[in-house]
Amino acid sequence: MRERLSTSSPATKVLGWCSLVALATTAVLGLWISPPDVIQGEAVRPLYVHVPAIWVAYIAFITAAVCSVLWLVPRTRNVKWDRIAGASAEIGVVFSGINLVSGMLWGRITWGVYWQWDARLTSALLLFVLFLGYLAVRRTTIEPERRAKRAAVMALVAAANIPIVHFSVVWWRTLHQEASVIRQDLDFELEGEMLQALGFGFVAFLLVYGWAVVHRYRLAVLEDQAEERAVAAAIERRRAELVGAGEVG
């Protein structure tokens, strides 16, 4: 009998509840407790979602890239690295999507338009699309080892875009503002309730990321088992057909 995997364990239940509380706290801090910005006014509020979302997306994509390297190196190759890479990238795409949509809403208030083909926005969209491509590669129906290899290479190509996204506001003249949370001397630009709201947003998204990676990993284990069973059943069926046709002894 196959070991049945639960959708939760005591640890992930605690993690899940902590995530929900942290998300709710972020909403309260971001929408009501933090003060309006001196320059942006109320328009600063979407940034408590927008900025943490891209930070967690970076973490998710870098994790996917590191696990892909661990899978590619023969000495460390293990199916768990491929599964973690896939899980992390999928969640990264969700956070990257949140970053793009919340940024568009912020842009509509601040710039008067949802979208501009500026270096930061374009490179962030490219990062999102590259990792969508990565997820598409993972869904191809080829032999699992070849699929994992192609996906790992794709993850590295896609992750190479992260520094371009991050430094685009420094390297090119962009409509998007420059780094405004941590200065180049690594000191915080924000303080007080604004820093609290941003910090809570980051912690909340990080908790959600942790919860989702565990669950997506469990799903990957189950999907692999289902795929193995489907292949075994197909071989058995084919063998039975050949036996019926008298081609196999």
């Binding site: 196959r2 929408l31 809403l105």
Partner: protein, 45 residues
């Protein structure tokens, strides 16, 4: 839509996307697990 709509919209999109994704993960785990246990097959008898 006024500014408040865009501001609340950003939070609604983020919260909605994360909850929908979490829900889909749990559903997919249950469905795949049931399929592996043969729970996906249905019969009158």
């Amino acid at each position: 839509m006024d500014d408040a709509g865009f501001i609340f919209g950003a939070y609604a999109v983020a919260g909605g996307a994360l909850i929908a994704y979490a829900w889909s993960l749990v559903s997919r785990i249950r469905r795949t697990s049931d399929e592996l246990d043969g729970g996906g097959e249905q019969s009158w008898t």
